[in-house]
Amino acid sequence: MPNHIRKRLFFGLTALIYSVLCIWLIVALNRTLDDAKLQMKEMTRSFLIDVVNTQSEFATLKRQMNKTLTTPSAQNLSASITNQQQLASRSSLLINSLRRLNVPDIMQGAYIEELTQFDTLIRDLGTLLNTSTPLSQGYNAKAQNLLRQLEYSVAFLFTEGSELLNDKANRHIKVLNTLSTTLSVLAATVLVMFAGLSLALRKVYQQKTGLQKLATEDALTSLRNRRSFNEIFTLEFARAKRANGQLSFLMLDVDRFKMFNDTYGHARGDEALVRVAEVLRHSMKRQGDWAFRLGGEEFGCLMITENKTGAQDMAKRILADVINLNIVHNTDQEAGVLTISIGIAQLPNAEIRSEVDFYRIADEALYTAKKSGRNRFCIGA
């Protein structure tokens, strides 16, 4: 797979994985926070139920006490004592329930104080019920006073308990909401930054690729340039030498190109070079085939062939294809159209020891082809 596609796939996949992770994180986080909110509400509700039950038990006690004060029978008194004992256990129950909610001490100070007051009052009422008889002096007034104070106390426990817990729950929920929003925004920010980084990296990669292309490509013909040729020629030569493999180097030169330029102008000359380059590009399509513009009207092709005739067949085809371009060149008296000459150097060849030899032999063969009448190829020995 080409390197640039691999890099793009890497960025795309990483961005996708990160996006999925972010979404999963946000969903999981919000679910956890919702659970925490529900739990908080549930605990608050549970405490308030205890308070409301206290209110209800007090209402029962008050009704029963009024009965006892109106009809001070042993049965009524006994029922009042039962109600009082039931209510007496409420203060400790409410304190424990409040502690479970983990309300800060500073918030529950006055509330605990009132619970203690409630506890004292209910025990005072218990003492009154157990030690005095309903008809004794001051009994009624004491009982009514205690009931009134208990009523205030129960109202306070209900009102302030609701406020306290609501405040506590709201603070918790607000913190959780803020946390949720902040984390969501943070995740989104990181996602945006990641996307930005990906884009920036892609741009850098594109610029780098563009620069690489500029450095290795001929601006007119888009074939590889001389610099690229130097690198590839050395590498391919070394590889073929090491493996004692088949490698052919074709050096091509447009015939009488100076004359062509002088006759038809540089614009037509450039156009002709582009069309010749196109022929080479189409001919050098296999893996391991290379086409270069070496400079001016000079081109080069490197190709791996199975045998020595492969390069000759290719040279014949190129010569024919260039003629078939039918680029009029009237000053060339033999052909009447633009032609090229080709010099071929081939490996393996014991005489060729270095890439300089390889190049030189192709160059000499080209010279021979030119000398022999042009529009032909020659194989260097």
Partner: protein, 169 residues
């Protein structure tokens, strides 16, 4: 530059997430014509003193327009709780006991935030509040109306059908 613009947008989002954006409903003096009724069922006991609708209406009256967390909305007219308490003889207090006709009981503390704006409302949108419509007197807290709608705060002190107020401390 685009990067900084993105940061600014994100910062705004974060800041707006932290802000609560809750505003209180305004309480202003009421100067319109007073609604009158038969007067029956509009008595309230403050520290044992019985006050009728005319007594209540003789105090400075105020109006506030809000939507309650209980669904009713519009312009409420009533007297300030503190004025009513003073008229009933409760000048200083730490806490008071408020009882409704349905035996709903709460306490109100002098230090409760917004108590100076709390109203004993007797009319809504030009009509007297009836016993079925939270009447005869509804203790409303305009300062928290919008917070309640936003799901914050407690409705426990919004006691309707108030018939009895006594000083505890």
């Amino acid at each position: 530059m685009t990067y900084f613009r993105c940061l600014a947008v994100i910062a705004t989002l974060v800041l707006s997430a932290y802000g609560n954006g809750v505003f209180a409903a305004e309480v202003t003096p009421f100067t319109g014509p007073q609604v009158t009724g038969s007067g029956k069922g509009y008595d309230i006991s403050i520290e044992g003193k019985r006050l009728g609708l005319a007594d209540i209406q003789s105090l400075p009256t105020y109006q506030t327009t809000l939507k309650t967390a209980f669904g009713l909305e519009g312009t409420f007219v009533g007297v300030k709780l503190l004025d009513a308490l003073q008229d009933g003889g409760i000048k200083d207090f730490k806490s008071i006991f408020v009882r409704a006709a349905n035996d709903y009981k709460i306490t109100v503390m002098s230090k409760d935030a917004g108590i100076d704006q709390a109203l004993l409302a007797y009319s809504l949108n030009g009509k007297l509040l009836t016993l079925n419509d939270k009447g005869p007197y509804w203790l409303i807290w305009p300062q928290y109306a919008e917070a309640l709608l936003a799901g914050e705060g407690s409705t426990v002190k919004w006691s309707w059908s108030v018939v009895d107020i006594r000083k505890i401390k």
